[in-house]
Symmetry: C2
Subunit: 759 residues, 2 copies
Amino acid sequence: MTEQLTVVGTRVTRIDAMEKVTGLGLYAPDLEVQGMVHGLTLRSPHPHARVVSVDGSRAEKLPGFRGLVKASEVPRVCGTWFNLRSRKELTKLFQQDDKVRFIGDPVLVVAADDEETAREAISLIDVEYQVLPAVFDPFEAVVSTDVKIHDRGNVGFHIVKEYGDSDAGFAEAEVIQEHRYVTSKQKHASLEPCGTCIAEWGREGSLTLWSTTQVPHWTQMYLSLAMGIPIAKVRVIRPHVGGAFGARAGVIWGLELMCAALAKEAGHPVKMEFTREEDFSATESRHPFTVDYRVGAKRDGTLVAADARIVIDVGGYGTHYVSVLADALGTGVGIYRIPNYRFEGTCVYTNKSLGGAFRGYGNPQMNFAQESALDELAEKLGIDPVEMRLKNYRGAGELDPVFEVPVKSDGMRGCLQDGASAMDWQVRRAASREQKAEGTLRRGVGMAAHQHGTGARFGLPDPSSAVIRINADGSVHLLTACADDGQGNRTVLAQIAAEVLGVPFEWISVSDTDTAIAPLDGGTHGSRQTYCGGTAVLKAATEARESIMKLAAEYLERSQEGLTLTGGNIADVDTGESLVGLGDLMRHYQVGDFSRCHEVIAHASGVTEDQPPVFGATFAEVEVDVETGQVRVIKMVGAFDVGKAINPAQCEGQISGGLTMGVGYALTEGLVIEDGKVLNPGYRDYKIPRAIDAPEVVSVLVESIEPTGPFGAKGLGEATMISSAAAIANAVHDAVGARIRELTITPEKILRALKETAQ
Amino acid sequence: MTEQLTVVGTRVTRIDAMEKVTGLGLYAPDLEVQGMVHGLTLRSPHPHARVVSVDGSRAEKLPGFRGLVKASEVPRVCGTWFNLRSRKELTKLFQQDDKVRFIGDPVLVVAADDEETAREAISLIDVEYQVLPAVFDPFEAVVSTDVKIHDRGNVGFHIVKEYGDSDAGFAEAEVIQEHRYVTSKQKHASLEPCGTCIAEWGREGSLTLWSTTQVPHWTQMYLSLAMGIPIAKVRVIRPHVGGAFGARAGVIWGLELMCAALAKEAGHPVKMEFTREEDFSATESRHPFTVDYRVGAKRDGTLVAADARIVIDVGGYGTHYVSVLADALGTGVGIYRIPNYRFEGTCVYTNKSLGGAFRGYGNPQMNFAQESALDELAEKLGIDPVEMRLKNYRGAGELDPVFEVPVKSDGMRGCLQDGASAMDWQVRRAASREQKAEGTLRRGVGMAAHQHGTGARFGLPDPSSAVIRINADGSVHLLTACADDGQGNRTVLAQIAAEVLGVPFEWISVSDTDTAIAPLDGGTHGSRQTYCGGTAVLKAATEARESIMKLAAEYLERSQEGLTLTGGNIADVDTGESLVGLGDLMRHYQVGDFSRCHEVIAHASGVTEDQPPVFGATFAEVEVDVETGQVRVIKMVGAFDVGKAINPAQCEGQISGGLTMGVGYALTEGLVIEDGKVLNPGYRDYKIPRAIDAPEVVSVLVESIEPTGPFGAKGLGEATMISSAAAIANAVHDAVGARIRELTITPEKILRALKETAQ
């Protein structure tokens, strides 16, 4: 390893910047495959029904009609890659039947030569439904006797965990804080609509899928199982993707598998492209949580007990809900030194669109409850919220009780202190307390903290692999299936490879995200690529470097110890004198010496040692109009312990995006559903922060140097939005004294709360 | 390694059969890339000229015009991958100037939105030429003082090699045979016209080229050098190819590099597609040889001396000519135990289309001379031609004097004896001697032998690499850049992988031929893929198997020695009882055990130990019409020492194709050029054997088991056509007594020879 970092830690331009800003790069909706036809979905108008019959005879007569596949003919992925782990688990991955469970649930897909014909075909198909009673409220669903959404009932999963003795803990507590906190059904709302793919059956009996999936290899395995062909015959290619945030952490509801089946039926490649309305009303969203949270402390602020009772509204199907709940458990119980913690979670089906993976994965919901409650508790105790966190968080060497793994890199103190400093916390906090009741605008500051695991090592299969090939000019092929959703993780992997190999950054070419090219990878989720993918790249590059140095020693007839590789040259380790260019060396062994013609290839595959927590603290300054209830977020400070910032510019990009998404989560973002119908399926009615709504963002990067991470790095992506909602809610309370415990924080709720406070 | 072969040696269906027979598979002319425009070439009407100026101003004004690039702005590849071996050699790879050297030599290329506009643009471009004197005959070119095709003169290369003492040898000889033999300028005449590619500048500043090249990695390096970008930024993708035969053993004249430069200029992907006329008149063809050959023997048939003086008509440019000459040397000198051999070769430029690589690569030309001469000598000596070869060929343990490598697997005796037997040689030979002069038809049989090296190990860089990835269901990704021109070599590599790994053949998925996917490979030429590519696959698969067995032992808690892998199962080596499926084992380690999540990946890269000779004997029975001079080839027997037939059906396919190509080479195939103009640039006038012209073909596979080859295999592809022309010429002589020493063997030449014989 080089001692002086030259690429890692620098703000190199991301490798795909040019093609993205020039419009040259192709995203899934831009793609065309020769001979392709168009697929379209017929969706259920009923929240709950059985499909009795489908009559496609009139559609089939349309010129240009290419095929029809019923949803009941294709397995639905109702689990995660956890279910890939064994034959037994595999049986739980899919669900296939003739029911529809929410308005918009796919009934069938048709293919036709063009979209117009497909649309006409859809209009000519007669579907007979047996309409079933529906339930939309999870608390009703739990007790309902006349609505049975799934054969096994409406409760998908239930768990109680107790660490320590919560009753005894609360008995010890001197102050107890207890409330119900409710979160919204947030949609990922990525720039690129969620739901485009192309499926082609072709080369050597294989299936090729152009998909925006974040997890190409798991998608490959899903397709292999669903279509009954070997994994080796399925190829998943990821084009550029305009934002994912978990929405693509698997296959998209009703998309890839249906498209593959339809392409087979049609005998043509099929492209399917969901509209924004289909995206918002019929694909995965964030699970809404109702958290009854109780927390007890000593007068000095020492936390002694907590009790969280969570009901998750899963929607019609249950992808990811078990692991989302597990993440709420791990992060909720893990962050503070609460010796007695009771945790109960219930996942309930309702006849609404399904929940799925979403940035933070259960943590933002849990964090909103816990960090709001902690703010309330700190106020009761008269302790500064920052002090409250500093006093109680689990730091270096401490064991998290869920996974029982010690914290190895602890940046929480840095996040809390540096973040507070960047917000000028003491001054602003005092200022909000002292502001006069003049005009209608009131300012306040709030904060919240979080931790979030990097990767999924302790809960899900989490492989990363990398192959490095050194070319005859010293340039490098890095083969990785890392899916870049726009965050720039492929650039980070290239930086790690360049740093380890000792070559200029420009010499690295990162492969397309394509299962035919790149080795097994767990995908892009869980803030894992820098840490997990980076570890694989580091190992493969280290092995490649070792092979290079052996050849260099032989070529130069010098001892390997006396040589180094830097700037693309083999140099004398003492004098720094360049002895031979890497290109010349590689050319010699690949091409020049006919008795060798040997290419340096190295690979690594496996998991990381750990799942280290990314600590973070979010600070928000808000301005509330007490007359209108309108909240404006003025400034946010996001202080995050990234371990090591491989590319500080990209970290800042994540923070800027994550905090802004947090503003949306806090204030405006949530699907409005009435009788199972989504009333705001698009940007006209579903409001995400516009540029003008975005606060001033200050990024604080804390580098705790994680010993198990590549160059000390941990993750970042998800962490950046987790504690935003609580920080903003706490700031609103600081500004006007109104405590909003239900997301989103609408003007109506503020006005109502102000009214109640005034009474 | 498994002891009982289950996949190797069987006639598995080739992996691309279905898509090829159904028309689903795409060939280069079928391909479309989004946003592509069309490129067209303006070609020189002069055989020799300097391009003084180009005025494209009228063309540029055409709507839809996209760009113009002059040939003088782009390097031409005038060497082979030999020139990639060092910085010094690199300087000899390219040539760039403002001259044109044959009719059809590219002057410039234009791009336009469609072909019509491109054609119109071409018609609007004014080119001013300074016409130079031209020379078309190589013997004139050697002595010409007023025509200087290249700055360094008209002789591109000249070599004299002497093994032993030829003067002394001839002094010893009791019989001497001496004549001039001349071969034609054969065109590859593949089903798919030679000259389609698409170049796209795109993803992350890289160049992607869809090319029919046989040598993707060398093409990648050529492009990298010519375009001044790192190798890692060049991607070469090979679609299906409908025949190559050497025509694509590099870049095609005026195609890939021009197309890449044009795409850059146009700012769009560019597709270029040569017409059949452009293919025949302006791309590479087989070098015509004039061989003055003298051979001396003892009365008992023992060869004692030979002298070959070869003049090669290189055409306007010299790709491959040095190595073609070297191959004529190696195979000519190597095959027989001639202790005294003088070899002189001269490569001469003429103002005709250029010579290039072509199946056999110098050997068919040399073989026609040597094997015709040997037939004449045998006749003089009254020795049976088969006996003559048996007596003199170099067999097991003998050193070839050029490379000084011993023969390790000797199938020549088998080829000669089994081939003779399949032809019923003695009986037919006697019959032709005894036939009566009734009617106009006479039958005769002839034979010739050859050897041909496998791969290019001793003359050119010759790497092969393979990567094996085992999927979670036990299916296998085999990554190889092996280019399949239609011979089925990717199928053979899959067979080797399946055999070594102990999995069903259907579990293997062979990667696309794509430099972004597959590791370094020397390409498909020199009959090398089964032997060289197969060796890399064997090594990688062996390494993968070892990794699998280690995991199996751990998983089953048994010793590795007690386990085997067969039929996709880990089994008890003694009882054969299946203990765990490979899929279940791999799933466990990849997905099931969260602490591992390890993918088995293995790779191999390097060269083979040897370049073993493929021995062969071709037997032909012909019927000659003494009135018309028409020759019909009735039957051919091809006996070839393949080492081990990995897939006998594919070997037979090669033999069938190669012998038929040999019939064309003997009888009809040659470009007719007058004053530098090709008079037969297409199938109307250039005659290849049609189905009705093809003889009955009998394939004889001799398995000598090459110790350095995978499962004993050597090569085959080129060998199948090498000795056809001599065998047919010898059969013609046997039938009617006419000795034709100049290809092609036309009716005119036969009638003339019969007239001379009659006088």
